[in-house]
């Protein structure tokens, strides 16, 4: 009797979870299906919920209309450059904070933790003028360098480095290894999960950035994919072409999604580590 009741409860749990999953996934499904239809089918009533065969043609139209090749390349380049840069810089900083005793560390550590307290909007105008005075407007410099400090990265690597036993660095030191050799040959190979987790977090973050790229670029060939989406959507307001908009949206949405799905285990571990800090 008791067992029976438990099975029933499990079944109900599954049912609720699957229904929620469907509800959460439906808007994306519907958006993509929209991208697979001809203009006429996209506006049929009642709506057609089965995919059509026009996705490729619609993607080509969207690609041409906003010059998505160039925009996606920009997004891709800055997302990779910033992710790699943040990984390198935060490993260096976390290594310094966990393996050395030095004057001023009590001040420097909290300093590296304030990036979240100073999000772009609290400094946007002066930051824009700074870029202008560097001559960095419409360049990759403005789209990458200001992002390179990473609180998340330093926390992630610091947490991990603190769990590495002292014996390891002692042994390395006795063998005559310099600190950077120890970092490169021992610590970094042990940190691959954290590196992958930070890569996902930062790639998704930069690919999806909007405000800063909007402010520091004005030339069409320096825009990023997210702003391309606005160009597509705004054209929809005049011409009403949901199928083209959604075919474009599908392409712009895909890169961070694929990276997240491929590295989901590392990402989840990174989150678990962040939440037990």
């Amino acid at each position: 009797m008791r067992k029976h009741r438990k099975e029933l409860l499990n079944l109900a749990t599954h049912a609720v979870l699957i229904l929620t999953l469907i509800a959460v996934a439906f808007p994306v499904y519907y958006a993509i299906v929209m991208g697979t239809h001809t203009h006429r089918d996209a506006y049929a009533f009642p709506p057609i919920l089965i995919p059509g065969d026009q996705l490729w043609q619609n993607m080509l139209v969207a690609w041409e209309r906003i010059n998505l090749g160039r925009l996606a390349w920009n997004s891709f380049f800055i997302a990779i450059a910033v992710s790699v840069g943040k990984i390198v810089l935060s490993i260096m900083a976390a290594f310094a904070f966990t393996h050395f005793k030095f004057r001023g560390s009590w001040l420097l550590f909290p300093l590296t933790m304030i990036t979240q307290m100073l999000p772009l909007p609290v400094r946007i105008l002066p930051a824009f003028y700074l870029m202008a005075s560097f001559g960095w407007l419409n360049t990759y410099w403005a789209l990458t360098v200001p992002y390179l400090a990473s609180t998340t990265g330093i926390i992630l690597f610091r947490q991990f480095f603190l769990t590495v036993p002292d014996e390891l660095s002692d042994a390395a030191r006795v063998d005559g290894a310099k600190p950077l050799q120890y970092l490169w040959h021992i610590l970094i190979p042990l940190s691959l999960t954290n590196i992958a987790a930070l890569f996902v977090i930062e790639f998704v973050y930069i690919w999806n950035e909007y405000l800063w790229p909007l402010v520091v670029t004005t030339q069409a060939d320096m825009r990023v994919a997210q702003i391309g989406l606005r160009m597509l959507y705004t054209s929809e307001r005049a011409a009403a072409e949901w199928n083209i908009v959604m075919a474009g949206l599908f392409m712009i949405m895909l890169p961070p999604l694929v990276i997240l799905i491929l590295l989901r285990r590392q990402f989840a571990q990174g989150i678990a580590m962040q939440s037990t800090k």
Partner: protein, 294 residues
């Protein structure tokens, strides 16, 4: 700890790039924003007149700013309240001892990869006045035909639902991670002592989750205050009227379109005060954690 004694310069060299980026691109512009907020600045910055606290006074007296502030707070409260509530509910179900629990734990992550702009456009389709499924559904239920391009409540609703939706994956992930850290013995002890599962959840699990909740409140606030910008710029442009002109959008408009730079700088300072107090709240609650983990 000092695992490599005798290296005096190296740690500074390792930290230098991070500190340089923070100083040049974060701290200096922020200090300049504080400085600018005391000036009246003509468009394109040709003339600057020191006006003391006048920018702040004007902001506090401006009905538009007050409206924008209230809209932002309401938006933030709904995104946090509903968003975290739903996420916690799903996370609790997904961490039950059921077959396939591991599947559910990754099945919800993916909304994390959606950008606010993407989520906005997807939900603009759902809310589309002529073909939107949500609009049609709402009309059959209530008889009311929603048009988010002209209707303030409709636009606010669109942005709010899209935001709850986009944050769901992240919130669920953190709650699952948090729930897995709650020791089972405590829950079992409460159950043995005669508490029902419902009561055991509220007296044991929920308080143990408070650091996770505080952290998520902080992250969701950052989202509601800042990250939502892309969604607003693509889908509503702050409208109709002022319905979705949240604080971040108002700064952008005043600073870059309306060229009221001193005023925009004063808004930056207000925003900082808000972020700092929420961050302070988060740090305060997460230092209380020590009591639980002992």
């Amino acid at each position: 700890m000092n695992r490599f004694p005798g290296h005096n310069i190296l740690p500074y060299a390792l930290i230098f790039p991070t500190v340089a980026v923070i100083a040049v691109f974060l701290i200096v512009p922020f200090v300049q924003a504080i400085y600018m907020s005391f000036f009246r600045i003509s468009p394109f910055g040709r003339v600057r007149v020191y006006t003391g606290l006048r920018n702040f006074e004007e902001l506090l007296r401006s009905p538009e700013y007050l409206q924008s502030f209230l809209n932002t707070m309401l938006f933030c409260a709904i995104v946090i309240g509903f968003g975290l509530g739903i996420a916690l509910f799903i996370a609790v179900l997904a961490t039950q001892k059921i077959r396939g629990a591991a599947f559910y734990q990754v099945a919800f992550i993916w909304t994390y990869a959606m950008s606010p702009a993407i989520a906005g456009v997807i939900w603009a389709l759902m809310f589309d006045p002529s073909v939107g499924i949500f609009t049609a559904l709402l009309e059959t239920i209530t008889g009311f035909r929603l048009n988010f391009t002209t209707d303030a409540v409709g636009a606010f609703l669109l942005v709010t639902i899209a935001s709850i939706w986009i944050m769901l994956g992240y919130n669920i992930c953190f709650y699952i991670a948090g729930l897995q850290n709650v020791p089972n013995e405590l829950k079992e002890a409460a159950l043995v002592d005669g508490a029902g599962p419902w009561k055991a959840f509220w007296i044991i699990t929920f308080p143990m989750l408070s650091p996770t909740t505080a952290f998520l409140i902080f992250v969701n606030t950052l989202y509601a205050f800042f990250m939502v910008f892309g969604m607003l710029d693509v889908v509503t442009q702050g409208g109709p009227g002022q319905a979705t002109e949240f604080l971040v959008y108002k700064i952008y408009r005043d600073g870059f379109a309306r060229l009221r730079e001193g005023q925009a700088a004063a808004q930056s300072v207000f925003l900082f005060i808000m972020v700092a107090s929420i961050a302070g709240f988060q740090i305060w609650t997460s230092t209380k954690r020590a009591v639980y983990s002992r």
